[in-house]
Symmetry: D3
Subunit: 197 residues, 6 copies
C-alpha cells in the first residue's frame, strides 16, 4: 500500500510552526530549505528497553525529519532486551519491511478474517521480513543477547496502534461489558486487564 499522496514539487519540507493544519503538513518556503531539513542523527544509539515489554522504538518519521513530508516513507530503530517483545500492533497507514541488525527475532503477522492465519518466522542477523499494511504483527527477541532491527514504513506518518493499549488502555476506558463480550470473559477479568494500561 502506498498511503501518501504524490509530490507536486521537488519537496515540501514541513513547517512545524505554521498554525494551518492539512492532510500531512504545510511546507516552509522551499528557498529556505536546507540540508538539516532532510537529516536526523542518533540512530546508532540503543533505546531504553527497561520497560514492561523489554523493547524500545525510536521513530524517524515526519515528526523528526521535516523533509519527509509528502515523500511516503519513514523508518524506525527497534531495540529488544533478551526476551523483549514489540507487542502485537498495526500500522493503519503503512506496510513495513524489517531488517535484523543484531540478534535473533521471532516475527509474525496475522491475516484478516475469516482465516486469521499466523505467518511466522525466526530471523537472524541480515534477515529481512515484510508486514503488509494494517495487519496485526509482532516481534520477539529469541536470542541470548540484545537484538536490534531497522524498520522501514511506507508512509511519512504510519501510525501505531498497540492492541493492548488501544483495547484495554484507551482514555476513557471502553466499557467493560463490551470487552467482556468481545473476549468472552468475565467483567472482572477485563477490569484486571484495564488496570495494567
Amino acid at each position: 500500500l502506498a498511503s501518501d499522496p504524490s509530490s507536486l514539487q521537488d519537496f515540501c519540507v514541513a513547517d512545524a510552526k505554521n498554525s494551518v493544519l492539512v492532510n500531512g503538513l504545510v511546507c516552509k518556503d522551499p528557498k529556505l530549505a536546507e540540508a538539516n531539513d532532510f537529516f536526523s542523527s542518533g540512530l546508532q544509539l540503543a533505546g531504553n528497553t527497561s520497560n514492561a515489554v523489554g523493547s524500545s522504538v525510536t521513530p524517524v518519521n515526519v515528526a523528526q525529519i521535516a523533509g519527509l513530508n509528502t515523500l511516503g516513507i519513514s523508518i524506525a530503530r527497534i531495540d529488544y532486551a533478551p526476551w523483549g517483545i514489540n507487542p502485537p500492533h498495526t500500522h493503519p497507514r503503512a506496510s513495513e519491511i524489517l531488517t535484523v541488525l543484531e540478534g535473533s527475532l521471532k516475527v509474525g503477522f496475522v491475516t484478516s478474517n475469516p482465516e486469521n492465519r499466523l505467518i511466522t518466522k525466526v530471523l537472524e542477523k541480515g534477515d529481512v521480513f515484510v508486514f503488509p499494511v494494517g495487519l496485526v504483527h509482532f516481534q520477539q527477541n529469541v536470542g541470548y543477547g540484545n537484538a536490534v532491527a531497522i524498520a522501514a514504513l511506507s508512509s511519512q506518518n504510519p501510525g501505531v496502534i498497540t492492541i493492548a493499549h488501544a483495547v484495554f488502555g484507551s482514555k476513557p476506558d471502553i466499557s467493560a461489558d463490551i470487552l467482556a463480550k468481545a473476549f468472552q470473559v468475565e467483567k472482572n477479568t477485563i477490569y484486571n486487564f484495564q488496570s495494567k494500561f
Copy 2:
C-alpha cells in the same frame, strides 16, 4: 483514505472464474457485462444474531457484487440483538460511515498511540457516525429491541480484523509468552483467552 486505485475504463466487472490473480480482480469482457453484475439482493433480511457476540454482519463487497471491482466502495448490513456488540475491530483498507436504521447504538473508536483516545457517542435511528481508516472501533446495542445499521466502506474489499480473533484466535496461536508480556498477565490467563477462539 481512498484505498483503491482509480478506474481506467467505465467498469471492470470481476471475473471470478479466471485463475489469474491481481491486485483486486481481473475483469470479464465488458461486452458481456449485464445488470446482474452490478446487483445483489437480500439486504432487507436480518442476519442471525444467535451467537456469542449477539450481532451479524452481512457484507456486500466485491465478493457479492462483481461490478464493484475497481470502484473503491462497498457496504454491509449489521444486525444487533439486544446488548449485542460488533466487537472491537479494524478495517485495514477502508474508512466507514455507519447509519442507524433501527434501535440505539453506542459506538466508538480509539485513536492511535500515544493518545489512545476513545471517541464515543450513543446513536439513535437516523444518526450517522464515521470511523476513520485503520482505527479500532466497535458498536453496542444499547436499546431495548434489535438494532440495524448500514455501513458504507471506502474499498471494494475493506477487510476485517476482529481483535479478539486476530490476537487470541489465530491459526496457529501466537505464543502465549508473547501475549502474556503484551497484556501483562499470566500465561494461564492467555491460554484461557485462546481457548475461547
Copy 3:
C-alpha cells in the same frame, strides 16, 4: 474509483471557519476533535418530494460531517414520491452503491461512447445496485407508494451534475445555437428547455 487522497494522520476534521482553502479542507487541531465532529443526525426523516421531479436527496458528506475530510466516503438518503425520479446525473468524483430501504425502483446507467449502452434493473426492498464513477445514471420509483434508498459514494465530496440543469439551466445559458446543433433540434425548442431551469 477512489477519488480521494490517502490519510496522513488518524483524521483531519475539516475546519470550516479557516479561510485557507486547499484540495479538500484544512483540519482543526486534532486535540479539539470530538464525537460530534464525526456525527450527524436526521437521516430517518423523509425529504420533501413535492417538486418537479418528485424526489429529494439528503446528503451526508464533508459539508455535514467535518470528520469525513480525507476519508474518501459519504452517503445520502434519497426519497421518491410515487413515480418520482432522481433525474439523469453524474458524480464527477465518486462511484455509488445504492440500497433500497422501501419501495421499488427502476435504476439504470449508460456507458460512455461509442456504445452508450443502458444497463437497467428494477430493484425491490433490500436490493443493491452499483453506478460506476462518472457515468450518467438515474432512478425512478415504479411502486405504488413512496420509495427510500441509501446511496454510499466513494468521495467526501462526490459532486452532482444533473444533466438537465447543467445543460439547459446553467448561469448564464449555453448559447442556444450550440445546444440546437448538439441536440439536432430548432433553437426554439432549446429556448423552451432553457425556460424550465
Copy 4:
C-alpha cells in the same frame, strides 16, 4: 485529477492480444518493447467534419499507442468546420487542457450543482484553456474558417460521454417518462429527441 495508478516499472506496453483483462491493460514482455509501441502517426491530417455537429475528434490514447498503458496521459486532435461544435460532453476519468492551433473557438464548462455556473471564453490561435475532470464542457468554432485544436487529457483512457447520445441515444432508450420528467417536457418531445440519435 490524476485518474491512473502509478507505474511500477519503466513502462507496461499494452498487450492487446492477451485475453486477460485488468484495470487498464496487461503488458507485453518489456524485452520485446520497441519504438513503434510508443509511437503513432497521422495527427497532421484533418478529420472529416462532414457530420451533424461539424467536428471530428481523432484520439491518441492507449488504444492507438500501447505504450501509454499505466502512464496517465493521452491526447486528441479536434477539427471544427465553420460553426461546427464539439457538443457538450464529459470525460469521466480525465481533466483536459486544450490548445488552439488554428481558428477561433468559443469554449466553456459548467460547474456542478447547485451553481451550474457557465465559465466561458473565446480563444484564438495559441490560446490554452482547461476543463476540470468530469465537468460538462464544449467548444464551438466561431471563426470564418476551419479550426483545429490539440487536447491533452490526464488518463490513458479518459472516456467520452456526449450528453445528447448518453441521454437521448442510449441502447436501449431511457424510458421517455423518465426523460419527460427530467427535462419537464412532453413525452412526444422526448421521442423527437430520441429519434435523432
Copy 5:
C-alpha cells in the same frame, strides 16, 4: 504514472498570493474563479532558440494557468532551430506525450538499469511519441528548417532535470572527485565540463 492527487472539488484555482504553502498550491475562493484562471495565451509564438542548445521550451503549467492546480496535467511548446536539441533530461513527476507540429525530430529515451536500452525514432509532422515518467529522454531537430512540438505532461508541475545542468552545473558544484569517479575521467575533464554550466 499519475503523479497528482485526485480532486476533491470541481476545481481548486491556485492562489499565488497566499503565503501558506502546501503540496501543490492553496486555492482561491471558488466563487471568485473566472475564465481567465483557466486560460493562457501566446503559444502560437516561437520561442527564442538562439542559445547553446538551439531550442526553447515554453511551459504552460500551474505557474502559468492557476486553474491547473490539482488537475494532473500541463503542456509545453518546444521550438528547435536546425540541429537544435532538447538535451537529455528527466521529468521527476510526469510522463510525456509529444506531438510534432512542424519539422523532423529524432527522439529517444533510455530505460533504467541494468539494460539502459535506448529506444529511438525519427518523427515527422503529425507523429506522436511517448516518454515514460522519470526516464532520460531527448529530441533533436534533424530536418532542414525549424521544428515545433507540443508536449503534454501528466502533472500540474512535472519538473525538469536537465542532466548536464544537474550534474555539472549545480550550485554549488558537486565535488570533482565524485564526478571524476562517476564518469571515469580525470578531474580536469570534470572542471572543464563544470565551467560550461
Copy 6:
C-alpha cells in the same frame, strides 16, 4: 511520493512464474502464501566493492521478496570502499531514506531546474538523510574505512538510473552530436566518455 497503487487484499505475493504481466506483478494463490514469501536473507554480508566506483548495492525489492508486491516499499544495503562512491543517479519511482550503519558518508541531491541547488551533508554512523523522488543524488565514503548504509525506498520497484550509464552507456549509444551539444564539448570528448561504459 507514494508511487505504488493501494492494496486491495491483505497481500498479493508476486507469482514470478506466471506469464501474464501487469503493472506490478500478478499474485499467487493467497492460500499458498508462506513465511518465505515475505522473507529474504543475507543482508549482513558486505557487497563486493572491487569495481570502478568502489561501491556495491544489494537490493531487497519485489524481485527478492515476492511478498513486497503491491506494498509500496523496498530496501537496499549499500557498501562503500574507502573513497568509494554511489555515483549520481535517480530513482524514477521512489523517495529514499538512508541510514548510515558504519563509516562517514558525504551525501547530496540536486533540485530540478532552474535552481539546480546542491543540498549536501556529511553523515556519521546513526545519521539519516532523505532524497526526494526523482532527484539526482549520490553518496561518497569520506571516512578512513569501509562504510555501510541501509536505504529504504517508497516503491516495490524503485528503479535506478545511473546518470553516467544512461547518458554515456546506453545500448545503442545516444548520438555523439546530441551529447556534444548537450554538454557543450567536442564529439571526441563524448566518444571518450562513451568508451568507458
